[in-house]
Symmetry: D2
Subunit: 323 residues, 4 copies
């Protein structure tokens, strides 16, 4: 128990100065400061860092932040939704997402009008249908390069996709370059799934196994000295990562579950969903270690993630300078 110490701000202060100032605060500010401290500690230890990404973060403009996290190996493994893969590919192929104004402007959104103009909406973002046509051509070419006679894991398919992209800002391309595996258990639940179906409708061979990723992800978990989870949103990525700990044997020193965990979410536990479940609840399952450093930041990830990462980058820089 320590006395609350209010955060102070000033013109020109850095993100890290701000977050460090929040350390003495409670509520969300205190949690955000704790998240940065935990991330810093993860980096100081020999930690394998897993990130789960749910929610339309790529369309919202978080692609560069995540790609940089990958390139500079602030994360070592990605688990995500099919949608984030799709939107990363779309941008890599040269298409764009566009921001429309919604609330608090005089322009009302008319979804039927958007439909007629061949634009699909994601909250205050739209994508042109043309972008998805490009995607189709690209994916078909990738599928055609695959061996129709053997079975692939989902991770392998994603790696092939990334290897065929040339945009250095792409998350998938960056992952291939940085040797960061990308998992997506629900890949069928995306445009990639739709195009795989269309491809197979044409009697073309495409064998992707639903379960083969488990081994690889579990091996990475088991081989790690320390493990850290950065959980953005909930959904399948969150659960798929955390359940890995269920089958991993306890460490020689008795540790089980993740050693570090940061969760950024707007879901709360009160409705009983896994997405909003606390990290404390995860301890009853052994998914998070009993002595783990863990914190949940209840915040829109498009705000909390850049703040978190900019502060972590500053601390890494300072650490390097000190050496």
């Amino acid at each position: 128990m320590h006395a609350i110490k209010g955060v102070k701000t000033w013109g020109g202060m850095t993100v890290d100065e701000l977050v460090s100032g929040m350390r003495g605060c409670a509520f969300g500010a205190g949690r955000l400061a704790k998240a940065v401290d935990i991330y810093e500690e993860m980096l100081n230890e020999d930690t394998t860092k897993f990130i789960t990404i749910a929610g339309a973060l790529v369309p919202a403009g978080m692609r560069d932040v995540i790609a940089e996290m990958v390139r500079a190996r602030y994360v070592d493994v990605i688990i995500t939704t099919g949608a984030n893969l799709v939107h990363d590919i779309i941008e890599a192929l040269g298409a764009h997402h566009y921001k429309i104004m919604e609330e608090e402007s005089n322009i009302k959104i008319d979804d039927l009008e958007l439909r007629e103009q061949s634009m699909a909406r994601i909250y205050d973002v739209v994508v042109h249908d043309a972008a998805f046509a490009q995607l189709e051509d690209f994916l078909r070419a990738v599928f055609e390069r695959m061996n129709p006679d053997r079975s692939y894991s989902i991770r392998e398919v994603i790696e092939l996709i990334g290897a065929n992209l040339s945009d250095a800002n792409s998350i998938l391309k960056s992952a291939v370059d940085a040797d960061v595996p990308v998992f997506c258990p629900a890949i069928a639940d995306s445009m990639i799934g739709l195009h795989a179906w269309i491809y197979k409708q044409m009697k073309r061979g495409l064998h992707v196994d639903a379960f083969d990723d488990m081994k690889e992800l579990t091996d990475i978990f088991c081989d790690a000295e320390h493990t850290g989870a950065i959980i953005l949103g909930g959904g399948v990525p969150k659960n798929f990562l955390l359940q890995t700990a269920l089958v991993a044997p306890a460490r020689a020193d008795g540790r089980e579950g993740f050693d570090f965990a940061i969760q950024i979410t707007t879901d709360t536990p009160e409705n009983g969903s896994l997405s909003g479940a606390t990290l404390e609840e995860a301890k009853s399952w052994g998914k998070i270690g009993r002595d783990a450093k863990a914190v949940t930041v209840y915040c829109d990830a498009t705000i909390a993630l850049p703040v978190l990462f900019a502060a972590v980058q500053a601390r890494s820089m300072n650490r390097s300078a000190r050496r």
Copy 2:
């Protein structure tokens, strides 16, 4: 625009009387009343009814309601998460979920204590680890009966699981009996996935294709005269169902997307996630038809679903009586 007419209550009123009385109300009450009206209309038309189930509804006690919806064919197709499958199987095998008190009691939950007592927590529910041991034995037996030389779709695996259960209250067993297909695109993201991995570690053949379900689900959608979506929670099930409409050709009469849609969720659109996305937004994609009857009820599904279904049952009964 109609004048708000307040709901009235009285001792002994039926659920249907209450919901009908909410028709003149606004906010959640008005939306719930509208949901029942839409469901009733779905049943009066020749509609194929798809339900998506996310969130831990089975552990919370919604298993009987959903199983009855299946048996009496209030729903024709299920899309769900792996967790709901697992918890349905666990109960079918004779294990139970237990309710613990959390807030507003003097007994504090201690997740580390639960861990030591081999109990895993889901909000105010716990499951004993022993239940998962039973599950393992059961799943292994199912896997062993599968042909190691051919590839299965995920739906086929789930059907095999259901066929091996004998509990008439099971959702999966009821689905087999009522010929209701069950889809679960992220099946690897569950204990089923973990046990499939363990099984395959033992060099046993088990080939389950990640993409093969698309064809079957799309065919059901395309063959339907009218289509209705009952969406409980968001996540992969919601998106996997709605994306089906993206590849289905428009009807002869120009209709595209779902004709009816009811969404029960506690997620709101403000953070941009698909889970909280409005059904209006889905119209810009063509997932929901431009003239569809659609409503979102922002409510804990453990409250709204039983109210909705009891009212719909009463109306079906009245309709039958009138004939």
Copy 3:
């Protein structure tokens, strides 16, 4: 700890049967069932029942339910916001609230258009400005009947307003008839405040004391054998009621704070606001008794309140019949 027992539904079931069936459920369903049980117990004891009402429940169509709770003395004291008073008066004077369609219809709401048509919006409800003109005339007449030379408590002003209404469905009129005091600490924060200001601008005497209600409310609390709080939404009403317990001396038997408490809210605790604070937290203040029966139902009150009240009415009826 008891095994989860799923709720079952059937056509024609009563609200009380449904809620009783939810007793074996977890999450929101279990909490709602517990709320009804607590309310029933309150009625069986000699309990003074306080209700706090925040949120636009009157415009949404909850006026009849609340008025009936008052008339049949299911509640003995009301604490509310100015807005609910205003909307009750408006309806009592013969004006109406109107429901507009918002999401999931093809009619887009245009707030600037509404402004031009002299309609003010409350989510999916609108009120015509003309209704507020009637209100002004009515309030002025009430103010004119007040003695400009003495100071009134806010409760007295509200009682005068109620006494001047003739609509038997009015909450305020019902409260006067049933001798149920109505408190509204933030009365200035409403159209009543605006019209009081206009009246005083005309150099008319109107003396209403900001603090005088405290004594009366505290006396009612202290005189009660048992005390129960039904908290709809948060805000000033919730806190104003609960803080009463802070100055009341402990009972002879050591009891302090409320003996029973039911909270229906969509606010969650994670952002630290009093509105979303748990009833458990309130125990640390002594606002809720250490052995109190207390539950929070996280639900839109326009759904949970009618369900709760219809079930409670049924149980009262049954109890009367048993005698």
Copy 4:
């Protein structure tokens, strides 16, 4: 409609650089960037800036930020809850708020234990009862200095309180020094109300009028060249400020309502409450001008407020430097 441009981060970047980078993003990041731009524009115009403060921001550690906003006249008028006044006074008198760990630590909160140790909890913060004893002595001394024969407005009482404080970091003291009026329509709903009641129980004169603040606040609004609202949380402060615009005559140039509005809240509109109501809805009432610059940031204010203010300070500094 503009193409989404992802935010980039780097070690050592300033808060203003980060927020400026968010301008091309959607969802919360885009809204936060827009809020800073609107605040900057407010400062560039001759704008009277009103801030409303709901939620326990002072206990959470936002006191220094708000006090600095007052001292440097980034805000000109405050409307707040009684609780924030009380907690500011407590700190000014030398007491502290203390942070306890809640979720994701091994220390479980026991509210009954806290009660026994005379600590009252506000989410993850506690206050010792002793702090409230100091408050009582202080308030009594203030009341004793008041003229028992005349009536005070609530704002006058708050000014007297501030004038009797000597802590330069106090919001109330800073407000007196900077000539910033503080309004609190629901002052009775706080410890100040409780102590006023105790004081009056002792037959001491204390006359505070519930309605007298309306005139002063309305006059400030009407005298302003331009008006800006910074709305933190909802509740009475939000409504009390916005309703001011309802009685103000339109400007000579036809403007009505606030010219600028920034709302930071975790409440969403779906449950129909005023707290979560959009600023667009407020336009239908004329509370926000039809051409107003307005944005809602859905975020915990303890995160968004310091980020917002630090960025605004940087821009003010830059503007000064350019002159």
